[in-house]
């Protein structure tokens, strides 16, 4: 068990390291000069040179990478050019907002999508199931920025039920959450239906039914119990992806999270800020994926992580 966790942790950290290194190389390969965007278009070449020297951009690439590695392992990725503050600190200030949004979105998704998928799987080939099926297709076909603007217009402008942007009150959480959840519900409910359909047709279910087990127990304990791992994995993976910033939705609703931060960092070519955002979100994503794996034995007692089973 411990060995397994250590191994997975090592693999995860390696992925993170490769990711930030790739980003480092990509940034330096690309055209465009961060000094220009920092000092402004009117800066003289002396000023530009000074800015480059200040941020160490005039050093050879390998030396810059060495400095970057030192910073990486000391957990300080340098000052953000545009915020004039440590880049890590800027990201950490934004992180709770993204976490809140992602958590509420995934909760709403789970609460709606799982019953919906089960409902569909219990009525295969009926007219109502077909209708919902087509609705889920529509749900996964709408661009989230468009859904967001539509909801915004409907429920914040025309009928001012919720604030239009930001996160001043809890009401501000509603529209972005719903926007994200529409797509996720469509995807997850279809997945639940697929899993449940397979499990409901399995022989063990026929046996249980013939022994007089109640239908609700059959569905929720027997079939759902065996669908739990793939469903949980899908929800977890979606959650991990959301932690990387629900970029589009954050931009639409002016949500002060990591997603809108990265858009700004890219626009201003804020190297340390880009690096810090990628580092933290990649770490989080790897962490969540590890947690998903660790939860498997709880969901299904047959699963043993690693080779040796521990009590």
């Amino acid at each position: 068990m411990t060995n397994y966790i250590l191994k997975r942790l090592g693999q995860g950290l390696l992925t993170v390291f490769l990711t930030v290194s790739t980003v480092f190389i990509l940034i330096r390969m690309a055209p465009g000069d961060p000094a220009v965007s920092y000092a402004g278009p009117l800066a003289t070449s002396e000023q530009l040179a000074k800015v480059r020297e200040q941020f160490g951009l005039d050093k050879p690439l390998l030396e810059q990478y060495w400095i970057f590695l030192q910073q990486l392992f000391s957990g300080n990725l340098g000052q953000s050019y545009s915020f004039q503050a440590p880049a890590m600190q800027v990201v950490f200030e934004r992180l709770p907002y993204t976490l809140t949004l992602a958590t509420s979105a995934i909760l709403l998704t789970a609460v709606v999508a799982i019953p919906l998928g089960v409902w569909m799987s219990r009525r295969p080939d009926t007219g109502r199931e077909f209708g919902v099926n087509v609705l889920t297709i529509a749900g996964q076909s709408m661009p989230d920025f468009w859904t967001g603007i539509m909801l915004l217009t409907g429920f914040a402008v025309l009928v001012p039920l919720f604030p239009a942007s930001g996160f001043a009150t809890w009401g501000g959480l509603v529209l972005p959450t719903v926007t994200i959840a529409i797509l996720q519900i469509a995807l997850i409910s279809r997945m639940v239906r697929r899993e449940m359909t397979n499990n409901l047709a399995a022989p063990y279910l026929t046996v249980a039914r013939s022994r007089g087990v109640k239908n609700s127990v059959l569905t929720w304990r027997y079939a759902m119990g065996n669908s739990a791992i793939p469903v949980f994995t899908a929800l977890g993976t979606r959650f991990a992806a959301m932690l990387n910033g629900v970029v589009v939705v954050e931009v639409v609703f002016a949500w002060p999270g990591v997603g809108s931060l990265i858009v700004r960092a890219l626009e201003t070519r804020d190297y340390p800020l880009i690096q810090a955002t990628v580092l933290i979100t990649a770490l989080l994503a790897v962490g969540v994926q590890l947690l998903i794996d660790l939860a498997y034995p709880l969901l299904d007692p047959r699963v043993r992580l690693g080779k040796a089973a521990t009590a």
């Binding site: 990711t19 940034i27 690309a30 087509v134 297709i137 661009p143 989230d144 990628v278 994503a285």
Partner: protein
Amino acid sequence: MSLHTATPAGPSGSTGAPTRQPSPSAVTKADLARAGATRRRKAAQWKLVVGAICTLLVIIPIILANVLPLPDANFQDLAARRLPPLTDGHLFGTDQLGRDLLSRVLHGGQVSLTIGLLAVLVSGAIGVILGSAAGYFGGWVDTIVSRLLEAQMSLPLLMMLLLVVALFGPSIPVITFVIAIAQWPEVARLTRSMVLVEREKPYVSAARILGLHRIQILIRHIIPNVIKQATLVVLLLLAQAVLLESALSFLGAGPQRPFATWGRIISDGQDYITTSWWMVTLPGLVIVLMVVGVNLLGDGLRDRPRRKKKGA
């Protein structure tokens, strides 16, 4: 007119003569299964037809955009700013610079669709090649491909795409490449799993015994057997590619020349949503119609019952 030549299997209301052996229950399991199969077939047909209609409704005008009598997409007429739909021959109305919205949507659609198709072709090719190689050769090839797939799963995808586009400029090749990179894992994973099954089948051993080279077996015998299902996934990926491209261009990372694409048109109209609803709503509906159509087609094709039963 009815002659008494009705075949016993015919569903026409012949007077008596039960065509099946009577069974203890009126409705047998076989009846249920047959009814379910019929409903499934009907549903799949419905999806195919409606999907095709939706897709064609969008695609045909896009293809004909250069022929149709439309104003130039980039022609600005400040005297005709923000006209509502159906005025002065502007079917979709005009935007804040007096450009014809329908023309913008159609010309932008040409760019969006081109990017989507190219991206899907590239990702499909990469996916099929790497996936089948991983599945067939196994060993270190499989290890490398599987690791790549895993690594991409844990990458902040949209962030990386934005990064690449922001750094290398929003040109059509860059965006195409970026979308292809985002999508190849899905094809690769599927192809790999199908090839894993396929390579254990007797015809592969037969081909090997006949002395065919491994690459020949893979290309001439295995890939043709899996390509059909892979194409189906690629069709569904086209829908995603269109959505991804529109998201990128909404965030300002889309192509600007020759025409602004769908996401950009919507983000342009965003500021005028309270006064000019059509500038966001209509382009969005066009995207939805097109993507719903492609998704329905893909779904219908997948659910469609196999016509030929496999010969024993």
